[in-house]
């Protein structure tokens, strides 16, 4: 049980020790925007306590897949979906599944930073708890811990009451990471969290990811092959054959195998930068 658990006061059995058990399984997931199919029968196991990396060219549906894992896909009015996603054996799209509880358990950091402009930096960090009606005992310590883990504490310690919009783009992204950490999700989905960051901040985030993955299942989208190699345990390559065709998984498996002895020649081409 970490200091964070004590501060937030979550029941230990739900988070803490048991958190490592969260396993996310996608079965035959296909997705559409209107009549355009963007994902073709994606099946993927995201193992508990591991970092899974999704790699692939732009527009092949990685973000869409990530949003499906958190039930955000259905917010797009024309979006449609088939297949199922299981969190610890329970279908999150099942008839009895609660959308808000699912999203509370499966946190998300978006490709574009989106802090709440009406809230201060500190309030942004606590926003998830406030928005889900969770009581917090020691706000200041929680804010500090989350900002430290996101590598943002030094820059913001003296301006916690300024608007979240007053930060730079990269700082906003780290604020969003801190905001996602504060609710202690069991699964954390990260959509290119480091795309706007310098190497030092990236290092901090990667360290946090490695640290978190003992308690939290992490799925990360990245365009950076070195990063995927550094931080992920398993890896999945998404590809798209033609413009207008759906994206699909070429190969998935342990990261070192994907990078050193891939089964598919397209994987070897992609990870070595010989694509297209």
């Amino acid at each position: 049980m970490t200091a964070l658990d004590q501060m937030v006061g979550f029941p230990q059995q739900q988070y803490g020790a048991n958190a490592g058990q969260a396993r996310l399984v996608a079965r035959n997931v296909s997705a559409w925007f209107g009549t355009k199919k963007v994902l073709e029968r994606i099946s993927l196991n995201m193992e508990p306590g591991q970092v899974s990396a999704l790699i692939g060219p732009s527009g092949c549906g990685k973000s869409t897949f990530l949003r499906i894992l958190n039930r955000l896909h259905e917010l797009v009015p024309v979006a449609a979906l088939s297949g199922s996603v299981e969190l610890d054996g329970e279908n999150i799209y099942g008839p009895t599944a609660s959308v808000t509880r699912t999203r509370l358990k499966i946190g998300m950091v978006f490709q574009k930073p989106n802090p709440f402009p009406s809230m201060s930096i500190a309030q942004n960090v606590l926003a998830g708890l406030r928005l889900s009606g969770t009581k917090v005992h020691n706000r200041d310590a929680l804010v500090q811990e989350c900002l430290e883990r996101a590598g943002l504490w030094k820059e913001t310690r003296n301006r916690l009451n300024e608007s979240g919009y007053s930060l730079s783009g990269g700082q906003q992204q780290r604020l969003c990471i801190a905001r996602a950490l504060a609710v202690r999700p069991r699964v954390l989905l990260l959509d290119e969290p480091c795309s706007a960051l310098d190497p030092i901040s990236t290092g901090v985030i990667e360290e946090t990811i490695r640290e978190l993955c003992r308690d939290v299942t992490i799925v990360i989208v990245t365009h950076n092959m070195q990063q995927a190699q550094r931080i992920s345990d398993t890896c999945a390559l998404f590809l798209i054959d033609d413009e207008g065709k759906p994206g699909y998984i070429v190969e998935s498996g342990p990261t070192d195998q994907m990078f050193s002895r891939p089964n598919d020649p397209r994987t070897a081409d992609y990870v070595n930068g010989r694509f297209g």
Partner: protein, 392 residues
């Protein structure tokens, strides 16, 4: 055929020659962004003076006396001379920039003058009445009026209180409802939302007298002489204020980036919390502006209150019982009386009305432009904040 010249080394400099963008090396303070300098002002002034003198000479020699034509000729000659001067001294780019600036300024000047004339006339006619023995006119009612009594013996107090109560009640009805409706219409994709959206649009265009007639027919007439009251007027005003505020609020809520809603939903927030804790707070300044503009608009509406408020020379602070006065209605009634005094009093009431509406507009602008904070602190800050240009 035109050829596009490659940007020369002086293009960047030529664009804004009057602005000093780069501070001296090692300067601590940012450079001032104030545009213009003395020589630019001298060029402008000399062109204006020279063309004035020339046109004056021309009109005197020709024996013309047409003030409007004089101004137009002066303006045109000024434009030409200023363009020629700028072109020969600074080149084409500067000339275009200056002409565009002059165009924008003179356009806003003309529009501003028209507005200032309307308001200025009301101030000119009404302020002496409203401020004679201040605050007498703002607190007394109309009961001691008459053809023989001096203007200063009556006041708009009853009308002010009536307006405040009626508009206040209407705002109480419509502002929360309008904001909720706007949230629903923006967030929902359903067929019902589409229908309501069209109804709101149609209601925005409803002639205000229809709103007044509507309340008159369904409420006032069935209740006979007791039908008219402050609340009846407030309901009629609501019919107008509700769609106005809804439309304005919708525009404000629409521009909130969808990413914010997704961020909040992605954190596991139920939709109603997203609306209350993310959407509305983010749009707060705009929503306040929308509400105040709706209130300001309805404060001056006459047709709704014509058959619903009744009018009353005495104070009647009870909005649910008895006829009640209000500002536009009082103006309407005073103007109709065959007495010079009544006409002058009407100007006084008009002045009160214009100042109330102007105060609302100023309030909405300053609230709309200030930053984060609670509503109260923001209003306080807006009241204390120096206007733009006062900053050293």
């Amino acid at each position: 055929m035109t050829s596009i010249a490659p940007p020369g080394p002086d293009t960047l400099v030529a664009r804004r020659p009057e602005v000093e963008w780069s501070p001296a090396a090692g300067a601590e303070r940012p450079p001032s962004r104030r545009r213009g300098n003395r020589s630019a002002a001298i060029e402008l002034g000399s062109c204006a003076l020279a063309s004035l003198a020339f046109i004056w000479l021309l009109f005197t020699i020709a024996g013309l006396s047409a003030p409007f034509g004089f101004v137009v000729c002066w303006y045109l000659l000024f434009l030409v001379s200023y363009a020629v001067l700028s072109n020969s001294l600074h080149g084409r780019l500067v000339m275009k920039d200056r002409l565009a600036t002059i165009g924008v300024w003179s356009g806003s000047l003309v529009a501003g003058l028209a507005l200032a004339a309307v308001i200025g006339f009301v101030v000119f006619k009404g302020a002496p009445v409203a401020f004679a023995k201040f605050p007498h006119f703002w607190t007394t009612d109309m009961t001691r009026g008459g053809a023989a009594t001096p203007v200063t013996s009556v006041g708009a107090g009853a009308a002010i209180m009536g307006s405040v109560e009626q508009v206040g009640i209407a705002a109480l009805f419509s502002v929360p409802l309008a904001i909720l409706t706007a949230v629903y219409l923006v967030e929902s994709q359903s067929v019902l939302a589409k229908i309501v959206r069209n109804i709101v649009d149609a209601m925005t265009g409803t002639p205000s007298i229809i709103a007044g007639l509507f309340v008159y027919l369904i409420w006032v007439q069935p209740h006979g002489v007791n039908g008219k009251s402050g609340v009846a007027a407030a309901v009629a005003l609501t019919v107008l204020m509700l769609p106005l505020t809804t439309r304005a609020s919708m525009e404000v809520i629409k521009v909130i980036p969808g990413g914010l809603r997704e961020a909040a939903l992605g954190l596991g927030a139920p939709p109603w919390r997203v609306v209350l804790q993310v959407v509305v707070p983010t749009a707060r300044t705009g929503l306040i502006t929308a509400a105040i503009l709706g209130v300001a608009r309805t404060t001056g509406e006459t047709a709704e209150v014509l058959f619903t408020a009744g009018g009353n020379q005495r104070y009647n602070l009870n909005p649910v019982h008895g006829w009640q006065d209000d500002l536009p209605l009082r103006i309407y009634e005073l103007i109709g009386q065959p007495s010079l005094n009544a006409i002058r009093e009407a100007w006084g009431v008009a002045f009160v009305l214009v100042s109330v509406v102007l105060a609302f507009f100023v309030l909405s602008r300053s609230v709309g432009s200030s930053g984060r904070g609670t509503l109260i602190s923001r209003l306080l800050r807006a009241a204390r904040r120096p206007t733009i240009g006062d900053t050293p």
